[in-house]
Amino acid sequence: MTISDIGDKFENNDAAGAFVLNAMSPDERETFQQRMGVDPDLRSEVDELRKVTEAMSLYLLEEPPPTVKDAVMSLILSEPQLDRIASESTVVSEDLATVAVLSERRAIRRGSLAALSAMAAAFLVIVGFVALDTPSSTVDDQIAAALADPMASVEVLQNETGMLRVITLPNSEDAVLVGSGLPALDDAQTYQLWAIDSAVEDAAPVSAGTFDLSDGEIRAILRRTSVNDPVWAVSIEPAGGSPQPTGEIVLISA
């Protein structure tokens, strides 16, 4: 699908309201999201209209029965991998409805992330192949399609022992991290990625999220943040991350 096709389908921004109210078919939603990626005005309108649904939700509050919380907390306790998997795989759809489906997709995702690590040097070509081999409805397809984008931008962050590639796409909110060589941290610490606006003097770093090593490797998908043309940096922070960098900066892009 070309940008022209997307434009033809949504000739103006009238569909923004239907998108915000989830009043589209899945196919239309996907097409609309593609157009949002290349149309800042449309994205801006959606962001504004979402403030309305956020405000509406605050007038609909209803206390749920305590049994649901018991069930949720129990499920979380019995699924200790969930948080780590969430850290690894941040490109996930919002269509998961059951724990069974969660487990199933987790298995799929493990495979795709392992592949992502293995293809660090030639990821664009390989992911292009994965995209062809993955059903279009899966989350993995979204990852593959994003990484196959020829407009991908790669920033390399390096120090004496470690290297990290930060891959971003012009039409995606994700920042894909692939690397190795950083020292393992204890449970009280984590690595945190920061985006710093290169065009603004003394710009405050904006957190893109935290990540941890898996078998010495870095394989994570975080958020690219709203910072344009950023300088990327990695610091060591207390577990859970910090609002602003407090620890040692271990990597920074040139």
Partner: protein, 218 residues
Amino acid sequence: MAIPAKKPDPDDDAGSSNLKASSLAQDIRTREVERQERSERLVMLLALAADGNHDAFSEFYDLVSPIVFGIARRVLVDRSLAEETLQDVMLELWRQAPRFDQAAGSVTGWVSTIAHRRAVDRVRSEQSHRNRHEAEALKVEIDFDSVAEAIEGDFEMGRLREALTDLPAAQRESILLAYFGGKTYRDVAAELGIAEGTAKTRIRDGLQKLRFALVEVG
């Protein structure tokens, strides 16, 4: 924007008026401080939950579950379905916690978007399931009258109900069917007997009016 001066009240002296104005301003400041503190608390709890902290997620659950359950109840109506949806959404929030980007919007906005989408998916799934398995006589079509009746009787909605009431009827109908009825704009168009493009326009225009009533003035 300048606030029009209030007409003098013969039973009210200047000192009392100033006191009321001061009290109102203080109340607004207090509420804004509380909102900001709550927002910052949610960001912190979510960051901790993203690192696997169960205690933080427990508190996060307490703060956002009324939002999720409230949306699910209004969209799904059925209490047990709403409870199942709440559970699904909270698990999804737990799983996606590391994705949250504070720069992209508020935690409340993120939560409400996921909750509404999941509730709408569920209501459409239930609709599809029933359409396949039940006799025509048991159709569960959600029509405008039933949605509107439920909203009008929902006194908890307060200012939202008033804002919806103030909308032109054509826009109100479209928004009620889409947001609370879980209808697509195509379904809205079919139900109201209007063109699909008209349905999209009414939804968008209605939301823009609600934005002024609920966000900008708020």
